[in-house]
C-alpha cells in the first residue's frame, strides 16, 4: 500500500498548480486545518507583543525602584516585582523581543546556509556532496545544545554570538532535508523535461526544485524556531546570552534562583511560563503544519 500511496500522494510541482488568488487559498487552508490556525494565532500574538513591547509595558522594565522590591503578584504588578523593584510582567513582555529575534535570526541563518548547502550538495553531487555531507555529519556528531554552548563560549558571551551559534546548530537539519528532496526530485520527469527544453541549472533549482522543498522547510522552520527559543533561554540561563540589564527570560530565571529558597516564586514563574508558551506554540504550529502540508510524515509521526 505504501508504495502506491507514496507515488500518488506526492505533491504536484508547485509551478503547475492552479493560480487561485493567494488570500482565498490561505483562508481555505486555515479553515481546513484549525490546528494551524490556532498555533498561528498564538505565534502572531507573540510576534505582535515583541514588536510593540515598549508600548505595552506597564512599567519601565529596567529602572530600579527600591521601594517596590520583591512584591508578590497583585493588581498593580500582575507578575510581582523583583529584588530591584522592577515589574516582572514588563520584563517578560520586553524579553519577548530577545527571544523572538534570536529565533528569527538564527533560523534565518540556518535556513539560508542549510538550504544552499543542501541544494549544492544534492544537485552537484560528487566531491561537493561528499565534502559538504562530512562537515554536516561532524556538526551532527555534537549534541545540539553542547555545540551551541561551545560556539557561544568561543565567540564570547553576547546575544549576537548566541544567534550565530544557534543558527549553526540549525544548519544540518535544513541541509539534509533539502538534499534528500533534491535527490528525489532531480530524477523526476518534469525536471528532465525542463532540462530538455534548455533551462539552466539555476532555473531548475530555483523555479522547480526549491518550491517543492518549501513545505518541508516551513515545517522545519517552525520546529527549529521552538528549538532556538529554548536554546537561547538555556544559553542566557548559563550567562552566555543577553547580558544585564537587557531583559531576557533565561537570564531572569537564572537571577531569580537566589530568591527561590525564600519562596519568592513569582520572579521565576513569569519568564518560565513565557518560555513555555513561546516554545509550545512554535512546536504546536510546526506539528500542525506537518500534518497539514506533509502527508508522508503524518503516518509516521
Amino acid at each position: 500500500m505504501s508504495g502506491v500511496g507514496a507515488v500518488s500522494s506526492s505533491p504536484l510541482p508547485v509551478a503547475q498548480r492552479a493560480a487561485t488568488p493567494l488570500r482565498g487559498r490561505l483562508g481555505y487552508f486555515l479553515r481546513r486545518n484549525p490546528r494551524v490556525l490556532l498555533g498561528g494565532v498564538v505565534v502572531v500574538f507573540l510576534v505582535l507583543v515583541a514588536i510593540f513591547a515598549p508600548l505595552l509595558v506597564p512599567y519601565d522594565p529596567i529602572e530600579v525602584n527600591p521601594t517596590d522590591s520583591l512584591e508578590a503578584p497583585s493588581l498593580q504588578h500582575l507578575f510581582g516585582t523583583d529584588d530591584l523593584g522592577r515589574d516582572v510582567l514588563s520584563r517578560v513582555i520586553l524579553g519577548a523581543r530577545v527571544s523572538l529575534s534570536v529565533g528569527l535570526i538564527s533560523v534565518t541563518i540556518g535556513l539560508i546556509v542549510g538550504v544552499s548547502v543542501g541544494l549544492a550538495a544534492g544537485y552537484l553531487g560528487g566531491p561537493v556532496d561528499l565534502l559538504a555531507m562530512r562537515v554536516i555529519d561532524a556538526l551532527l556528531a555534537f549534541p545540539a545544545l553542547l555545540l551551541a554552548i561551545s560556539i557561544t563560549a568561543a565567540l564570547g558571551p553576547q546575544i549576537w554570538n548566541a544567534m550565530i551559534a544557534i543558527g549553526v546548530v540549525a544548519i544540518p537539519a535544513y541541509t539534509r532535508l533539502t538534499r534528500a528532496q533534491v535527490l528525489s526530485i532531480r530524477e523526476r520527469e518534469f525536471v528532465t523535461a525542463t532540462r530538455a527544453i534548455g533551462a539552466s541549472s539555476w532555473r531548475i533549482v530555483f523555479r522547480h526544485i526549491l518550491p517543492n522543498v518549501s513545505n518541508s522547510l516551513v515545517v522545519q522552520a517552525s520546529l527549529s524556531t521552538a528549538f532556538a527559543i529554548l536554546a537561547e533561554a538555556s544559553l542566557s540561563f548559563l550567562g552566555l546570552g543577553a547580558q544585564p540589564p537587557t531583559p531576557s527570560w533565561g537570564q531572569d530565571i537564572n537571577y531569580s534562583q537566589r530568591y527561590l529558597s525564600n519562596m519568592m516564586w513569582w520572579m521565576s514563574a513569569g519568564p518560565g511560563l513565557a518560555i513555555f508558551l513561546a516554545v509550545l506554540s512554535f512546536n504546536f504550529l510546526g506539528d500542525a503544519l506537518r500534518d497539514a502540508l506533509d502527508p508522508h510524515l503524518r503516518r509516521r509521526a
Binding site: 555529519d137 568561543a154 529554548l230 527561590l260 521565576s268 518560555i275
Partner: protein, 318 residues
Amino acid sequence: MTEYITRRIVLMIPVAFLVTLIIFVLVRMAPGDPVLTYAGEERDPEQLEQIRKSLGLDQPLPVQYVLWLGRAAQGDFGRSIRTRQPVGDAIRERLGATLELGLAAVLLSSTISLVVGTVSALKRNSWIDIVATGITLGGVSLPNFFLGLVLILIFGLALRMFPPGGYVPFTQDPLGNLQRLVLPAITLATASLAVNMRQVRSSLLDVLAQDYVRTARAKGLRQQAVIVGHALKNALIPVVTLVGLQVGAVVEGALITETIFFWPGVGRLAVDSIGGRDYPVVQAIVLVSALSFMVTTLFVDILYGWLDPRISYGGGAR
C-alpha cells in the same frame, strides 16, 4: 553486515577528525590569552614567554593541533587552568555521578513512556491518549531549568519531601543518595519522556495495522499475548534507537540539570569551566561527549540492523 560496519567506521574517521578540528578551532578562538590566565598574577614578560613555551603555545597553530591531538589520543588533556588538576582525572572523578543521574533518567523515561505510550496507542483518542499527547507536547516545550526550579520549589522547599539539591555518594549513604536523585532524575527524564512516548505510540500504531498482527488475533490469541508477544517486539525497535541516542547525549542533558541541583557531575564541571574560562577542561568534555555520541550512534545503528533483519545494509549509497 561486517562490510556495513567497516564502511561506517571508515566513514567515521574523517568526521571524527573534523570534530576534533572544530573543537580545537573553537577553543583557540575563545577570548582571552590562556597564558595570562595560567600565569595568574605573574606579568614578567620573560616568565610569560616561558609559560607560553611550556604550554606549547609558541608553535604554529597546525603544529599545536597535531600535538594536542596526539596527547588527547593518549588520554592526556592537559591540566585545568583553575585547579591545576589533570583534566582526565577531573572528568573521571565526576563521571560516576553523571552516569548515575543519566541512567536513572533513561530508566524512568523509558519505563513510563513504554507503559503510557502503549496504553495511548491501544486506546487511541481516549482521554488518556489526549492527556498523554498534551503532556508530550508540553514536556518537549518546557525548559528543563524551569521544570527543575518548579520541582525544587514544590517538593524540595514547600513540601520538603526531597532535598532541594546536593549529592552524597551511594557508598556513604544509599538512602540519602537516592533521595537526592529523585528530583534531578525527573527533570532530566521529562524532555526525553515526551519524545519516547510519542515514538512508542506511533510505532505501535504502525505495527498494529500490519497483517501479522491481524493473523495473531485471527488465530485467537488474547489481546495481551498479541501486544506483548507480537506487536511490541517490533514496535520497540525505533524506540531502542531513540533511547540509545539519549544515552549518548547524557552529558548534554546533564549540563543544566546538574547545575540547578548542585549535582557534582561532568555537566556541572563543564558549566563551571565555561564560566571560569578553563578551556582545557571545556575542550576535553566537548571532545569526549562528541566522540562518545558518535560511537553510540554507530552502535545503535548496528543494533538496529541486528534487531530488525528486514533492514539490509547492502553496498548502495546512503
